[in-house]
């Protein structure tokens, strides 16, 4: 059997097809990387000033010099000029302060100005604005955070949820001071902001009874629990990156492994469709069948060869595209780091290396590769018609999204193998977003489909008469 499988692999790897797909992959990934770099906007202060000035000119020529849009663009010009004149680092707390707090004062003042409002109002706005600008001279971000803490503390709450959100907001603001994380345009800062906004969503569903919730709400609740838990874990461990805040190359690698890409599907389908039918159409099957090997051995060795090639290709494909993406993003090193993973069963977070997580994701996605392959393989063995098997294979691959839409109308569709062959939603105790789909059903459907197709292939191939040409 090993020998026969080796021979099948020898044949597969002497064809140009796989290498062609790999080359196309490399070319396209590099092309996308280059396009991404090219399309990155020039985010310099000068460029922003010029863009806003240009917008102002257009508004002026169209007689809209008194509109709120005009005021907004004017404020932008002034804000960026301020940033530029003071030579402020875009990632500094000052920059964040100018772009958020100070900008709203500038915009307020300009709005009143262009609308030619009451002088008193305009003067007041100017005083507020100047006061805010003055703060820059002796800028202390901790003072600002403390002010916000005071504001929160003074806020009156009427219900329990509001109290909890207030408590958590104050906690996180104090966390900023203690951990030296000012409000900035950096991952860590925006990450903490995102945490607070998710926490307020979470607090509303936290105490709801799971059994009384409808499935969608339950699903949302579990996802929120997961996100909150992950973020809390990261705050506790002073890690400020996650798949929510920014997808680094490590996260992208896991995504690649969780859902076999269309290129992988092409390779699996084409290999499965041709490895038997080509031997029939070229007549070489006769030469193979007069060797001292049973037909079972011959067909199983072919299946194994397709499986091994598909797995090898998946790894090669994912690694190549990850490496190229990582090079373009400049964070290839992240793939050797750890990811925080939430376990839905224990409701706790664990740290796991991106590489290990990718392997686990791959194992959960493996039924998809195997079933897609064996389905096309069976069709190709039964009909020895490669185009037919190819067509059906791509149809099956695409059917997943169609079935997902139809499942609401006919729950029987939930037994479709293509809806059940990728187990990655169930990783670490996760649940599917569709009520009718769950892990035990998926495993049962996958096993039954596999066994039925396998037996069918064996029976058909053993009974097959090699027709005369």
């Amino acid at each position: 059997m090993i020998k026969a499988t080796k021979n099948e692999l020898y044949k597969i790897f002497h064809k140009k097809f796989i290498y062609l797909v790999l080359i196309i992959t490399v070319v396209f990934t590099i092309l996308f990387g280059v396009l991404d770099v090219l399309s990155n906007e020039d985010d310099s202060y000068d460029n922003n000033i010029n863009m806003s000035k240009h917008s102002m000119e257009i508004l002026e020529t169209n007689g809209l010099a008194t509109s709120s849009d005009y005021a907004y663009q004017k404020s932008l010009v002034e804000m960026y000029t301020l940033l530029k004149d003071r030579n402020i680092d875009p990632k500094s707390p000052e920059a964040y302060y100018i772009q958020n707090t100070l900008f709203s004062y500038i915009n307020q003042y300009n709005l009143l100005l262009v609308e030619n409002d009451i002088k008193e109002l305009i003067d007041n706005a100017k005083i507020e604005m100047d006061k805010s600008i003055k703060r820059l001279d002796n800028f202390d971000w901790k003072e600002l955070v403390q002010e916000r803490i005071n504001e929160e503390q003074n806020q009156k709450c009427t219900d329990q949820n509001c109290e909890e959100i207030k408590k958590e907001t104050i906690r996180v603001l104090e966390y900023r001071i203690n951990h030296d994380i000012p409000f900035t345009n950096t991952n860590a800062s925006s990450y903490i902001e995102e945490y607070i906004s998710l926490y307020s969503q979470y607090i509303n569903v936290k105490d709801s009874n799971d059994e009384l919730l409808n499935y969608n709400d339950l699903y949302e609740k579990k996802q929120l629990e997961r996100q909150i838990s992950e973020m809390q874990y990261m705050l506790d461990h002073e890690i400020y990156t996650s798949s929510f805040t920014d997808a680094n190359t490590g996260n992208k690698m896991i995504d690649e492994f969780s859902y076999p890409n269309v290129m992988i599907a092409i390779v699996v389908i084409v290999l499965s469709a041709t490895v038997v039918s080509e031997e029939f159409s070229k007549g070489t099957i006769k030469q193979l069948l007069v060797k001292p090997f049973s037909r079972n051995k011959i067909i199983i060795s072919k299946m194994l060869a397709v499986l091994i090639t598909s797995i090898a290709f998946t790894f090669a494909f994912n690694i190549i595209s990850t490496v190229i993406q990582g090079i373009f993003e400049g964070d290839l090193i992240t793939i050797f780091g750890n990811d925080i993973v939430y376990n839905f069963n224990t409701k706790k977070c664990i740290e796991i290396s991106y590489i290990m997580e990718s392997l686990i994701a791959f194992i959960y996605a493996l039924p998809m590769i195997i079933l897609l392959g064996i389905f096309v393989f069976a069709l190709s063995t039964i009909t020895t018609n490669a185009p037919f098997a190819l067509g059906m294979g791509f149809g099956a691959y695409l059917s997943e999204s169609v079935f997902q839409l139809l499942i609401r109308r006919a729950s029987l569709i939930s037994y479709a193998p293509t809806l059940n062959y990728n187990l990655s939603p169930y990783m670490f105790g996760g649940i599917n977003s569709i009520k009718e789909l769950y892990l035990s059903k998926a495993i049962a459907v996958d096993l039954v489909s596999f066994v039925v197709l396998f037996i069918l292939i064996i029976i058909v191939f053993n009974k097959k008469d090699i027709k005369n040409q």
Binding site: H14, K282, K291, P292, S294
Partner: protein, 300 residues
């Protein structure tokens, strides 16, 4: 001599249609059996049944004493075959093809591969892709592949298809040499004249039935011989001879008689005042012999 191949009462149905009716024949080592019949007579089907490529509806096939149905792997291990056309992987080179085929058997060495390459004379082109080969070269590579494991039985289905006369001649020599090494060869063809000079036995199949099997020597002996006689005139010859002759032109005839009787006929002609210039014994082709034997059924 031991029997290498025994085909016993082979029957094959495609649906309700019976395509083979009790086909039987044997093959011994060193024997070259010509399996002859028109296109569609059942030659390829019979070969496919022998090789397990199609299921046997009824009957049995033994190769080297092993039943093909029950002991397939053992039976087929000593067979080399080309069915319909040499089945090669076009995207591999000749040598890669041979390497691949050899890995299905135990103990085939690099020397064995070189030996068969030399045997079929493909040394110079063996590392080219098969897609660049001519049909004749593919045929030769196909034979090389089927000889790799030193089979006791070689089955060649229409191996001369697409070969030029030179190629056919080379193949003939190759097969004769193989037969000397005690390999039993089953070779099918719709063209008897290509085979007659080297086969030892002929088996004729028509409409799925074997209509005769016999040794070529016997066949030729049994039949009448043709003599071409040149004489001064053919006028009035109908009064001298019976109807066992044909007039070729005004001064020559063809006479069909047993070899031993020719003197009697020459004497008769001389007695009737005919001048005889030349008597030539014409070789009877196997095909003509068959036509005589099967009562005028044309083979092709």
């Amino acid at each position: 001599m031991s029997k290498v191949l025994e085909v016993k009462n082979l029957n094959k149905y495609f649906g309700k249609k019976q395509v083979l009716h009790d086909v039987s024949f044997d093959l011994e080592e060193g024997e070259i059996l010509g399996f002859i019949g028109p296109n569609g007579a059942g030659k390829t089907t019979t070969i496919k049944l022998i090789l397990g490529l199609q299921s046997i509806s009824k009957g049995e096939v033994f190769i080297n004493g092993y039943n093909v149905k029950k002991d397939f792997s053992k039976a087929i291990a000593s067979v080399g075959a080309i069915v319909e056309s040499p089945d090669l992987y076009m995207y591999l080179t000749g040598r890669q093809n041979l390497k691949l085929m050899s890995s299905y058997y135990k103990g085939i060495t690099k020397e064995d591969i070189d030996r068969v390459i030399k045997l079929v004379g493909l040394e110079h082109r063996i590392d080219d892709k098969v897609s660049k080969y001519s049909l004749g070269m593919r045929q030769r590579l196909g034979i090389a592949a089927s000889l790799l494991h030193k089979p006791k039985l070689l089955i060649l289905d229409e191996p001369t298809n697409g070969l030029d006369p030179e190629g056919i001649k080379e193949m003939r020599e190759l097969l004769k040499n193989l037969a000397k090494k005690k390999i039993a060869i089953l070779i099918s063809s719709h063209n008897l004249s290509e085979l007659e000079s080297f086969i030892t036995t002929a088996c004729v199949i028509q409409n799925g039935k074997v209509i005769s099997t016999s040794s070529v020597k016997k066949l030729k002996q049994k039949s009448t011989t043709t003599f071409k006689i040149d004489l001064n005139t053919t006028k009035g010859i109908d009064k001298v001879l019976n109807d066992n002759y044909e007039i070729i032109d005004e001064d020559s005839i063809e006479l069909y008689v047993e070899k031993e009787e020719i003197t009697k006929y020459i004497k008769k002609l001389i007695d009737n005042k005919y001048d005889i210039y030349q008597v030539v014994k014409e070789e009877l082709s196997l095909e003509e012999a068959f036509i005589q034997m099967t009562g005028g059924n044309k083979i092709d």
